[in-house]
Structure formats: C-alpha cells, structure tokens
Subunit: 326 residues, 2 copies
C-alpha cells in the first residue's frame, strides 16, 4: 500500500491512497482525513486502507484523480517526533577520518540525533535557505514511521511497529554543523527542514528488498541532473529494529515518530555518495583537499529508489535550492 | 491569563482557563478545545480567552470547577517542537570545569539542543524510568511557547512571538548523557520525557518580574521535601528573544514550539542549584569529589515559582521517580 498527503491549505494536508504505479490517487476522508491520524489509529484503519488500495489496483474507483507529486506534501507534513540515525558505518568512518582523525569513535551503539519534526518539506518544495555560505548539502536517506513504541521494547519486538517507509532529503548546513557537533548538544541550526518522498509505503511494497529490517535497494541521488551516487541500503550497521530498541530505552515513542537511517553509504567507492560532505571527505583523504563545492542557489537534487523492474517505489524527491526572500 | 490542560483520555487533553489563584477553572470548548489549537490560532482566540479569564476573576462563572493540579497534563501534552537551551552561563561554566576542564567552550552563541516533544509529562505524573543506574536527575527550567516564527526573524522582532511561559522539569539521565555529549549528536536516550508546570501563563501575569525577555524571580527547587536551590531567572546570558532569533536563523518555528532556558543557575553559591549534576560539579571543584548521589526510585522533586506576594505563579511540578514495570 502506498499513501501520500496532498496539500489542501491545512498544516496536515489530505490523506490519499496512491496506486502502485504512482499515477492515480483517491482521498479516504471516511477512513482517516490525514496520515498522522491514520498512523495514530493504524490498527483500526490499516485493513480499510488496504481495501481501497486493492480496489485502485483492480480498476477505476469513484473519486480517483491523477496523482501529481507536485501537489504532494511530505507524507507527514509535520509529526510529533523525528529522530535521525547515522548508521551506515562507512559514512561515519569517512566523515570521522576527514573531520577528526585524532578522535576514536564508538560504533557499538547507534549514532542518533533528535531532529525537528514541525515543518517538513514536500518532495518538490523548494529548499529555502538564507545563505549559500552555510554550506548547503543534501543527504539521501531511508526512514520508517512507527506506531506507539512503549519504553523498553526490545529489538525482537520492534519490527511490528514499523508501519511505513519513506525516502528523505535531510538537508544539512555543513558550515554550521561543525560548530554544533563541537558543542556536543547536536544539530539545530545546521539541520533545516527535511524533505520526504511523494509516498510512504508499507514494507510489503518492497517485496524481497525488505528483510532483516533493512531496505536492500540502491538509492539514486542526482545533483543538477547528474548521477552523484547510488549506494544500497543493505549496509546499515544497525537495522531499524535495533534503532527502535535503542531509542525506546528510556522513553515511549509516540505514534507517528519518524526514524531515519542517516546518509546511505557503501564501502564500494563505485557506489558514489548520497551527500556532498562524504564525497568531500573522500577527496580530502585521497587527494589531500576537498574539491567538490557545496550547493549553490538554483541547484537541484533528486533522490529516488527503483524496484527490480525499474519502477519508482516512493516517487522522486526533486528539489531546488532557493534563497530566502529571493 | 493562566491556561491549563486537563486530562480527558485524549492525547491533547482539554483546555481550561484557570483563575489567577489557581483554585478555579473553566473549559472553553467553543473557543478552543486544546491549548495546541489555541496557540495555533492565537490571534483569533487570545481576546476571547482573556475575556473568560477576566470573568473568572470577577466572580463565579457557568461551568467552572475547582482546579486540581493532580488532574492536569502538561499545558501542551505534546507539541510539534521542543528546543532546550543552556543559557545560564554559570551552569555551563561549572559543568564544563567539572566534565572537561581541558576544553574551551564558546559562550558567544546560545547553546541549544533539539528535544523530544511527543510525550510530555504532567506536573504530578510519575517519572517512570528503567534504571536508577542511569543517574536520574531533575533540571528546573523556565520555558516559553511561541506562535509561528518565520525564518530569519531578528531578536528585535522576536518578543511578540512569546505567548506563554511555563516551568519545566527537564529530566536527565547523567549516566547516559556523557556518552551522547561525546558523540556530538546531542541527547536522545539521556533526555526522557520532560514535565511541565500545571499552568502556562501569559507574560503579563509576571508583571514586573518579566522584562528584557527574562523571568526575574527565583525558581524554588526541593528534593525529597528539602530545599535544593532557588536560583533566579535573571542571570540568563541570552534572553528568550536571542534564543528565538538564533533558532529561526535557518528554519521556521511552528506555532506551539516550546523553548527552554536550561537549568536555572546563579553565580551566588548561596542560591543553590536547580539540578543535582551542578551541585556535584561544585563538590568536585571544591572538595575534589562529588558526594551528592543522583535520585533513587521513590524520591520526589518539586519545582515552583512564587510571585512577590508569595503566591504560586505556575503551580508546582511535584513528581515521584518510579521504576518502569515496578
């Protein structure tokens, strides 16, 4: 099942069920007006939503309309919590080697930060920012949406809480990030609003590509229309159940909590990167200095994942960087 | 005007207007069902709510009931964003001197971290946690609630966004905090659910004690019924307008965003402390080792602020620490 949120002038938008091929959608106000509401009542609404999705696959349904990713908000335009991991250890090692080669990192515990969930961007929304000098970067990631996870939930009981998957562009401001990393308090100004894929999908939509609580497909990242990387989700050093159990150690996670994987990254350098900072780290390590600049106003980034047949699973994030007030 | 949220079985609770002396309350469903809704439509509802508050002060009103802080949720039981500062530089200097005397801190920029806003505790809710060994601590703080703050809002335009003030118990797990501080990614497991005062108040309720976007009153903190400290809010090294402008540099802040001051702390040692970690830092610096332990299951903490006449402004946070599943 694929779900999206259409912009309708409200902060939470209007939930629609989307056809597998991402061409058709139908609103389901009698089941749930918004995706946040649906996630909060998942056990009640899941079968009803799945019945609508099956109807859409079977043929035309009353009230359906073409699905236009340009009209889509983030599947959850805002939610109660966004926690992003950084659990592709290859990315962590490259960044650490470039940024602080003297410091030993502990890779035995998932690296996570609390993000801002109040103002997510849609897949085609401009990324509006004040200064190029902040070092504007994209990060291609995979994220899950969970229902309520009680404190103390172990890894073995975590997978059933994973209700939906999405792609993320975790916009990052590298020029602000190093100072905030240095405080130890984590990222606030360095992490402006994140953007999400046009649709959120239930794990079964990934078929064989979803197992061991990881997404085993490459994530295609393009910058200004050119391939930047297509690392595979398979190399997460902690899977999503381990992330959930880590986060729920000392608190409940509310329904609608979104948990990200961090920048997708592979050991094989041929896979390229899902963020500029990682490519710059590789350049620094290999060539002595980074030579790829960060993004300029007017630049675009596209993030997409295809299934084994070459069809888009989540639709594409495709955004332009725009100057605030420009 | 004083506002509270009564528990009614829903996640957002029921908004009530509370009398200045905290003894009487009346629900206002025709104005706004929840405080989150009211904050999101503040310009529409403020005068209507103030009229109810004035009516309550004038005498009995239809539908009023005694206000019982035991029945109160956090004024915002959940909201879209919680960002906590640490802008009492005295606290920062003490903690730094004790934790990492070799590292130079930058006090020229407000220190802030992104917190979890999905599951706040009410003022009398038990603090349920899995292990005493995590080093359970309280932190007495002051917080503001803002309406929508557009990206790029300067300090000079920030004060009008401050709609409400609350007290906070920012529960902290010191045994987990040091590792998370070391990652640079900030606090997740080390910061379980925070608790808030029974009522949120508009700044005018503080009269002369609110100026220069700071609260100039002592915060009374008791541990197991004994005075622990009563530091004054006046020594914030950045005021709330500076915090807002810092946070809004690279993103919009949604209506309902809660921003905390961090542990209230004064240079005068006679003021005591608003968290155990600070007292332990002082002991380490003065006596060579901390001797005050962290909290045990069954311990209580009380956080309150009185006006010049000795009346409680926000009501008291008064919580017991309880073992998960105990």
């Amino acid at each position: 099942m694929k779900l999206a949120t259409l912009k309708d002038g409200t902060r939470d938008g209007r939930l629609v069920v989307v056809s597998r091929d991402l061409t058709r959608a139908v609103a389901v106000p009698s089941i749930a007006p918004t995706l946040l509401d649906a996630v909060e009542r998942w056990d009640e609404v899941e079968q009803l939503l799945r019945a609508v999705a099956e109807g859409l696959e079977a043929g035309p349904v009353a009230g359906e309309a073409p699905f236009d990713a340009e009209q889509a908000a983030a599947p959850l335009p805002r939610t109660w919590q966004w926690i992003d991991g950084s659990v592709f250890v290859n990315h962590g090692r490259l960044m650490a080697a470039a940024l602080h080669p003297d410091k030993e990192n502990d890779y035995s515990v998932p690296l996570v930060y609390q993000g801002a969930s109040d103002d997510f961007l849609g897949p085609r929304d401009d990324v509006v920012l004040p200064f190029e000098e902040h070092g504007i970067d994209f990060e291609g990631e995979i994220a899950i949406v969970v229902d309520r996870v009680p404190m103390g939930t172990p890894t073995t009981a975590a997978e059933s809480h994973i209700k939906l998957l999405m792609l993320v562009n975790d916009v990052s401001l590298r020029g602000l990030l190093r100072r905030e990393l240095g405080t130890g308090f984590g990222f606030v100004t360095a992490k402006p609003s994140s953007a999400f894929s046009p649709v959120a999908v239930t794990p079964d939509e990934l078929a064989d590509a979803w197992h061991d609580a990881k997404v085993h497909r490459p994530l295609h990242v393009e910058w200004n229309g050119e391939r930047f990387g297509d690392p595979n989700g398979t190399e997460m050093s902690f899977d999503f159940t381990q992330l959930i159990a880590h986060l729920a150690q000392t608190r409940n996670l509310s329904a609608g909590t979104v948990i990200g994987s961090g920048t997708v990254s592979n050991e094989d350098r041929a896979a390229g990167s899902a963020c500029i900072a990682e490519r710059r780290a590789i350049e620094l390590l290999d060539e002595g200095a980074p030579r790829t600049p960060f993004m300029s106003f007017g630049d675009t980034v596209r993030i997409e994942m295809l299934d084994a047949d070459g069809s888009s699973i989540f639709g594409a994030i495709d955004q332009k960087i725009v100057r605030l007030g420009g």
